[in-house]
């Protein structure tokens, strides 16, 4: 065997032992899963994905299996089967889809103290979930190569970091708006602390999965107690900025990299001489002046309480300004 083949064999064996350990949590073996799946699992390259594949999960976890099938034009609707009480979700994807998804990712990155950070557009939630699952997938039998090559993996990570950072910055801006509007914001800042830990775990190579696994990710990423305490005690915009500067070398003001926009899906409705905005809450609102623009500017021009009211009624939303973040990172 060549060294490369030896390495592949070793990796394949360690993946199979990780697979056994993962399925053991739900009292199953790979053979039992394959036998129960029948023809549904008898095509293409099968991978265990999700929390079990990432080494998390427990006896209540679902078994999520993705199969990559040549000549399949599009992903199939998911199948749900049960092995005893364990739900097994099975989805089939075109074998070329992972490569296509990675090719569509921007290549530009910036070096930060947290690792390379993707520039450009933040991932859609759906794409982020798929990339994370495929990045951490375990092959269900020997001789199957990982879904992503090392080069592709290196291209995905900076985008996961951007996703996590974007969440933190948006939450921090929103917490600040609520703070200025006079709301008790302890809970919002606590969410920022969690989002900070999410960024740090992602930077440490543990990409985001279901929120409930955050404590486990923190343990696995072996974050220092000082770091965890610092994040858990975030109580202000200054705290968030200080953490980003200290651990990421990033001088970012969340208020300058977030935008207030009209909420997606809001429709104009005219009833006689009256005009309304039909919001996602199924309500017709007559908001009058709707503030739009960079979050910091909006707060400088408008009463924070009015901004929060419009956010709460679904007339406007607060979101990351991709270009603003790129400018801040470059500076």
């Amino acid at each position: 065997l060549s060294r490369l083949e030896e390495f592949d064999l070793e990796r394949s064996l360690s993946a199979l032992s990780a697979l056994s350990a993962a399925l053991e949590k739900v009292d199953l073996t790979a053979d039992e899963v394959v036998a129960a799946g029948g023809s549904v699992l008898d095509v293409g390259m099968p991978f265990l994905v999700g929390s079990l594949a990432q080494g998390f999960g427990n006896r209540g976890s679902d078994v999520d299996i993705h199969l990559f099938v040549a000549d399949l034009e599009r992903a199939t609707p998911p199948f749900l089967i049960f092995i005893g009480d364990v739900p097994v979700d099975v989805e089939h994807f075109p074998a070329t889809l992972p490569g296509t998804l990675v090719d569509a990712l921007g290549e530009r990155t910036a070096d930060t103290g947290l690792g390379p950070l993707a520039l450009g557009t933040v991932l859609e939630r759906h794409a982020r979930k798929r990339l994370t699952r495929w990045l951490t997938a375990l092959p269900m039998r020997g001789g199957i190569q990982p879904i992503f090559s090392p080069t592709q993996r290196a291209r995905v990570y900076p985008h996961l970091l951007r996703f996590a950072l974007s969440r933190l910055l948006t939450l921090a801006a929103m917490a600040e708006v609520c703070d200025r509007a006079g709301y008790r914001s302890d809970y919002h800042w606590r969410l920022c602390g969690r989002a900070t830990l999410d960024v740090l775990c992602t930077a440490a190579g543990y990409p985001p999965i279901g929120d409930k696994w955050l404590p486990s990710r923190v343990r696995r990423a072996d974050l220092s107690m000082e770091l965890v305490t610092t994040a858990a005690e975030v109580r202000s915009l200054a705290d968030v900025r200080a953490i980003l500067l200290r651990y990421g070398g990033l001088a970012i003001d969340p208020l300058s990299v977030t935008l207030v926009q009209r909420a997606p899906g809001v429709r104009d409705v005219r009833l006689g001489r009256q005009t309304y905005l039909h919001t996602c809450f199924g309500r017709l609102e007559q908001p009058g002046d709707v503030p739009l623009g960079q979050c910091g500017d909006v707060l400088a021009r408008h009463d924070a309480r009015a901004v929060v009211d419009l956010l709460r009624t679904g007339v406007i939303r607060l979101m990351l300004d991709d270009e603003g973040l790129d400018r801040s990172v470059a500076a």
Binding site: G60, R167, A175, C178, D186, P215, F281, V308, L311
Partner: protein
């Protein structure tokens, strides 16, 4: 005007338009979060149990929004904002859950108690009782109720539910 003398009757249009998606959210989000709490507690994984309590209360709150007219899933930060600023009882309980990172058994049991109460009250307000969908026993009865809901919506002149949009 009170066209119906029976206090137990339902507004058919409300049930089809609001109750149906709320029931779907209940089985997808609330039921699964409750299952997650129990699984973590069996493993004595108290931090994950408290996390699951957090998600269960968020899901109850979200389900109530759908019952009240919300037409789609919340996007990033939207639900956080509402939970942080609403006087609602469930939002208030959620805000006072302990941090999961150092949570112990007492925290998890207290959280489970809050979730029990919130879920029971929500079930009382939901017009449709759904079996636990992600079990071999509950799956097909739930699917059948889904088909019944679609027939009701059609008879009320409503389009089919975009089930995938609520997942």
């Amino acid at each position: 005007v009170n066209a119906s003398a029976n206090p137990n009757s339902h507004d058919a249009l409300w049930l089809a338009a609001r109750g149906a998606p709320a029931s779907l959210v209940f089985v997808n989000d609330v039921q699964s979060a409750v299952g997650d709490i129990d699984a973590a507690m069996k493993d004595e994984d108290w931090p994950t149990a408290v996390e699951a309590c957090d998600f269960a209360l968020r899901s109850v709150y979200f389900c109530r929004l759908v019952l009240d007219g919300l037409e789609r899933r919340c996007q990033d930060g939207e639900l956080d904002l509402l939970l942080a600023t609403d006087d609602d009882a469930v939002a208030n309980q959620l805000r006072h859950l302990p941090s999961s990172l150092r949570a112990g058994e007492a925290d998890a049991r207290r959280g489970r108690g809050l979730v029990n109460q919130a879920v029971t009250e929500l079930e009382d307000d939901l017009p449709i009782r759904m079996p636990v969908i992600r079990t071999s026993r509950g799956y097909f009865p739930s699917v059948r109720i889904g088909a019944d809901i679609e027939r009701l919506r059609a008879s009320c002149g409503l389009p089919p539910i975009d089930w995938m949009a609520w997942l």
